[in-house]
């Protein structure tokens, strides 16, 4: 097993990885940007080194500095988390050159799966179903028109290097093909430095369902029951659950086996996720892409299988064979995850950086908190707005839903607005209860106008504000008179009095 691991990430995933290391008895090294000196991951890890200024490219993406720290403190492995350098083949190679294990798959897998067209070629050879469409990139507009006719409408024009909804254009009329070609190329070049684009069929009522796989360095690959990730906002997952309401035992096995084949096409040897697009109408599933890293939503799979994916990923990177076979994995209950963002759901999801001045985290049975927050944290403006993930387990989907609603109700984050109450509205909706949704659900059903919905406790809100105004005015008045009202300030040095 590793002697010391550097965690090349921040926020909740850095803490998740630290926890796994801690339980494995492996000391950890945190890295942080100048904006993150006060971040929780810096405080919980055993060692911590600053790797540069706030902007990611100068710190969390700064390979030179990160590798310098890694060598300086003698780590023998680096866990990249998700995002940042987690799918960067060059970084993985540089680690290897220094004799440091990159905790992730082999670099060929990263490269092939990092590009949509090369990954389509690779998995098609293993007979994994693809969204009907191209396995090469488009040469020019004429080529685009030719393929558009062949595949038929509606179509998706996609940047080959794309991800996260960028560089994508839906096409419903043939005459829009040339414009979509130009737009997708330009977005691909801007966002990913790669102008390659290709065409595939647009799947209607799409659901996004993905399969976690886990491989080792001895050729073993297993799959886990699916995750349903269709609840998205602007192509970003917001709520995930496992299992999916539309997948039965046969479909689960078929998707799992397809995912293992996809993984086998690149000799996959770590934790990874094969994403499928599923037609909500026909329940056909098609390979979309493979993420060659630990996924944000990995905890729901952990909750329904009892497997600690983060720990197994580390053990596999250290050369351990998988401690279980496909037959050992069984599905147990239901799990849901809500991603809590620092965004104002009633104001077009504007980011809300700022100081967390009060925090009460939900607890009790089968509630799991994955968070980088603490009372007093100043949420920086430089990074992703995800604050935490709230995960629940229930013996049935219905119980998981009522538990998630209960837990969301307990979650109090003060000082900044978050998406907590928004999650409660989505999870509490009838369509969600029925499992009746696709990837457009939030964008179609939760409009900005919802902010004007009637609020149930208007009177209590009004009288609370008035009482606070009264108390403020009373304190001010007493202050003017030189008095010191009940709200007297404690010196920074007065404290618990715990010490005699």
């Amino acid at each position: 097993m590793f002697k010391k691991i550097l965690i090349a990430n921040r926020g909740e995933i850095a803490i998740r990885v630290h926890r796994a290391c801690c339980e494995l008895g492996i000391p950890t090294v945190a890295i942080f940007s100048e904006a993150d000196r006060a971040a929780l991951h810096v405080r919980v890890c055993d060692e911590a080194f600053c790797v540069g200024p706030a902007p990611s490219r100068k710190s969390y993406l700064n390979m030179d500095r990160i590798l310098e720290v890694a060598q300086q403190c003698g780590v023998d492995a680096i866990h990249p988390g998700y995002g940042f350098l987690s799918e960067n083949a060059e970084f993985a190679e540089r680690c290897a050159a220094l004799g440091i294990t990159f905790i992730g798959p082999n670099t060929k897998a990263i490269r092939v799966m990092g590009n949509k067209t090369t990954s389509r070629v690779a998995v098609a050879e293993m007979n994994v179903p693809l969204v009907p469409g191209m396995k090469e990139n488009l040469r020019d507009e004429a080529h685009a028109m030719e393929w558009a006719e062949r595949i038929g409408l509606p179509l998706m024009m996609k940047a080959a290097a794309g991800g996260g909804g960028k560089g994508m254009r839906m096409i419903t009329r043939m005459e829009d093909v040339p414009a979509a070609f130009r737009a997708a190329r330009s977005e691909g070049l801007d966002s990913f430095g790669d102008a390659s684009v290709y065409l595939e069929r647009y799947v209607e009522s799409p659901r996004h369902i993905e399969i976690q796989v886990l491989g080792d360095k001895h050729g073993n690959i297993i799959y886990f029951p699916e995750r349903e990730c269709s609840i998205q906002r602007r192509h970003q997952k917001v709520i995930e659950e496992a299992p999916s309401t539309i997948v039965d035992e046969d479909m689960r096995r078929a998707m799992g086996e397809a995912a293992v084949k996809a993984a086998r096409s690149v000799g996959y040897d770590s934790a990874g996720t094969v994403e499928f697009i599923v037609s909500g109408k026909t329940r056909e599933f098609f390979f979309l892409e493979m993420n060659t890293r630990l996924q944000v939503e990995h905890p729901i799979t952990e909750m329904i299988t009892g497997v600690d994916l983060c720990k197994e990923m580390i053990k596999s990177a250290a050369g351990d064979p998988l401690p279980f076979t496909q037959e050992d994995i069984s599905l147990y209950g239901h799990a849901i995850e809500c991603r809590i963002y620092a965004e104002d759901p009633d104001n077009n999801f504007l980011p809300t950086p700022g100081k967390i001045i009060g925090l009460r985290v939900p607890g009790g049975p089968w509630v799991r908190d994955e968070s980088g927050m603490y009372e007093g944290l100043d949420v920086p403006i430089h990074y992703d707005p995800m604050l935490s993930k709230l995960v629940v387990w229930g013996s049935t989907r219905e119980r998981a839903i009522t538990r998630m609603l209960r837990a969301l109700g307990e979650y109090a984050v003060k000082g900044i607005k978050t998406t907590i109450s928004f999650h409660a509205r989505v999870i509490g909706s009838e369509a969600f209860a029925k499992g009746d949704f696709d990837t457009h659900y939030i964008d179609n059903h939760f409009r900005p106008a919802d902010a004007a919905r009637p609020m149930p406790h208007e009177d209590v809100a009004l009288l609370s504000a008035a009482i606070q105004a009264y108390r403020r005015d009373k304190e001010r008045a007493q202050h003017l008179l030189g008095g010191h009202p009940d709200g007297q300030e404690h010196s920074a040095w007065k404290s618990s009095g715990r010490v005699r």
């Binding site: 707005p385 609370s464 606070q468 105004a469």
Partner: protein, 172 residues
């Protein structure tokens, strides 16, 4: 003490009386409430009203009459002003122009300023782009008018509530 509360444009007169420490009588329009009040954590209130227990978060900026109230996950933005102060403010407002002071809705970095002083702008036209947490956010003009002044500078970081620019209505 009597206050005037404004919530979603609706005005309510509220009388607050402290009957004893931790107990308030509040009259809200014509509805009376007896409130058992406690602030166990700063800005987090525990209210018991007629047996019902409420946990209420109240935020108020330093010298502001605007209160952000959170109850069971819902958010209420309420302005509370002392009655006589409010009357004065309303008189002043009656004489004021339709001038729009645009303030930053969040902390962020000014990515781009797309207009110049003196320029005519349409309602809804994008004036600036603010970036925070990897997202770009457009700041739009609430009215058609002329750009009076611009405080925001490209590449400069602003805090929530910082002035960005002023849009003057087109004179009649």
């Amino acid at each position: 003490m009597t206050y005037i509360a404004t919530y979603r444009g609706q005005i309510t007169k509220i009388q607050v009386q402290e009957s004893e420490a931790g107990n308030f009588r509040v009259t809200l329009g014509n509805r009376d409430y007896v409130v058992d009040f406690l602030e166990p954590q700063k800005n987090i209130l525990s209210l018991i009203i007629d047996g019902k227990s409420y946990e209420v978060d109240v935020d108020a900026a330093a010298n502001s009459d605007d209160f952000g109230v959170m109850i069971k996950g819902d958010h209420y933005e309420i302005e509370v002003v002392e009655e006589r102060k409010k009357k004065l403010a309303m008189k002043l407002a009656a004489g004021a122009s339709g001038r729009q002071d645009l303030k930053s809705p969040m902390a962020g970095n000014v990515r781009a300023v797309l207009v110049q002083v003196g320029e005519h702008v349409a309602a809804g036209q994008v004036l600036l782009i603010l970036e925070a947490m990897k997202m770009q956010n457009e700041i739009k003009s609430p009215i058609a008018g002329i750009l009076g002044s611009i405080t925001a500078r490209e590449g400069v970081t602003v805090s929530m509530g910082d002035p960005l620019c002023v849009v003057e209505p087109i004179p009649d």
